[in-house]
């Protein structure tokens, strides 16, 4: 069974039909890149997967469980699905270390020393262990985003969702974040990334999907996707961003 199985997912904002029947399976260890024009529903789609958004029709299975089931503990589910946002969303009143240890301590009841040890090793992995005692406002954008990644990883998630993690960053900081993501991908993390970084997609993605108007228009392995897209809309989109 696939790690994530999305079946005919529909979502409305009022009258507005944002997601119009999305079906997508993501295998364990697979890296899926999602691209598409602004407003096409990419964010909405991945936020449905950990139920930050509710949906009205269709099913989402995570690790064999329907996430909309009554018996599912939503908090436990979310702990297993990490999410990284465009705006970092670090907690400004906590130090970097506390940002990372908050959820393990409060949700998993991990002892403080253990949580801190894990946090420091994760911060080292993303290359900022020397900043552990600073506050988010004292870090650069790229550093903040790497803390955000470490914060998600601290819950030892089975899947990581990324929503345009580099588009709020200055160009010179994009690579430091992408490198962390590439490492993660190579280590076998299951990932869904909304991103327009096509270099990243080429390098590590197993599959690229193109969304427009709330549906998946086209999907293919990256080589094929970039070298010979079949749909007009995809071609137009690629022409614009490449």
């Amino acid at each position: 069974m696939a790690m994530i199985e999305v079946n005919k997912l529909h979502k409305w904002y009022g009258d507005f039909h944002v997601l119009q029947g999305i079906s997508e399976n993501v295998e364990k260890g697979e890296v899926l890149v999602i691209c598409g024009p602004s407003g096409s529903g990419k964010s909405t789609f991945i936020r449905c997967i950990n139920r930050l958004e509710d949906y009205q029709k269709g099913t989402v299975f995570f690790d064999g469980k329907d996430i909309h089931d009554k018996g599912v503990d939503i908090n436990k589910l979310r702990a297993e699905i990490g999410i990284v946002f465009q705006q970092f969303n670090l907690y400004p009143h906590l130090t970097v270390l506390k940002n990372v240890t908050l959820a393990p301590i409060k949700v998993k009841n991990a002892p403080r020393e253990e949580a801190e040890k894990l946090a420091l090793s994760l911060l080292e992995r993303v290359g900022i262990h020397d900043q552990a005692h600073k506050y988010p406002a004292e870090l650069s954008g790229g550093q903040q985003q790497r803390v955000a990644i470490a914060r998600s990883l601290a819950m030892k998630p089975k899947v990581m969702l990324f929503d345009e993690p580099t588009s709020a960053l200055d160009p010179e900081m994009i690579n430091e974040v992408l490198n962390v993501m590439k490492d993660l991908a190579r280590e076998g993390m299951t990932m869904l990334c909304v991103t327009h970084e096509m270099g990243f997609a080429r390098e590590v993605a197993d599959r690229v999907i193109f969304m427009d108007g709330g549906v998946v228009v086209e999907q293919a392995p990256p080589d094929e996707f970039f070298s010979n897209p079949t749909h007009e809309r995809t071609k137009a989109f690629l022409k614009e961003i490449l």
């Binding site: 436990k76 946002f85 705006q87 409060k106």
Partner: protein
Amino acid sequence: MRFDVVFKNFDYFLWGAFPEGPLGGLAMTIILAAVSIFLAFWVGLGFGLMRNSKKPWLRYPAMVYVELVRGTPLLLLIFWFYFLAPVIVGYSVPELQTTVVALVVFTGAYIAEIVRAGIMALPKGQMEAARGTGLSHFQAMRYVILPQSLRNMIPSFVNQFVSLTKDTSLASTIGVLELTRCAEQVSNRTLNAPMEIYVTILIMYFVICYCLTSYSRRLEKQLSRYQARDR
């Protein structure tokens, strides 16, 4: 100018007839304000959180409370409690307690509004990030949202405390011996120096309230640094 009347009675303005008689005057004003703000904080926090809740059975009662109280003059509210308390509890409640209840109910509604607005002012991403790592709604509130928003609200709380301090003067209308009532008493007894007496206590109120107001302004400046912002 008959400021000698003021000097002779200044200790009465400060603490009433204490220690021979009951405590009163400015001391009573401050106690009344401090006790009321402490209680009103918890009332306001509770109702403010309720107003932000998604559950209608929590949100609507809080909304009704806030709107009712904010639409009613404090004097009327004090009188309602003064008038109703004996009926409800069955024996006569001392004026002081009545006043505290009225002030708490009154100020609580305003604090609820501050709390609600303060929580709403935080970027949505804070809640989402917290929920995204598996924290429950309550935990996210407790560890992520409230620590930030309460800190941002401190200046508003101080301002509310200033209003409350001024509002305690209304307790004089039901006979609580706080600063205003003491002034009235002295004025009624001496009859010849109302202007001097009222100017004096206006200045006494002013000193307290102005210090608090300045403090809240300073805080506001300091706080504008570490705040989560939408970029």
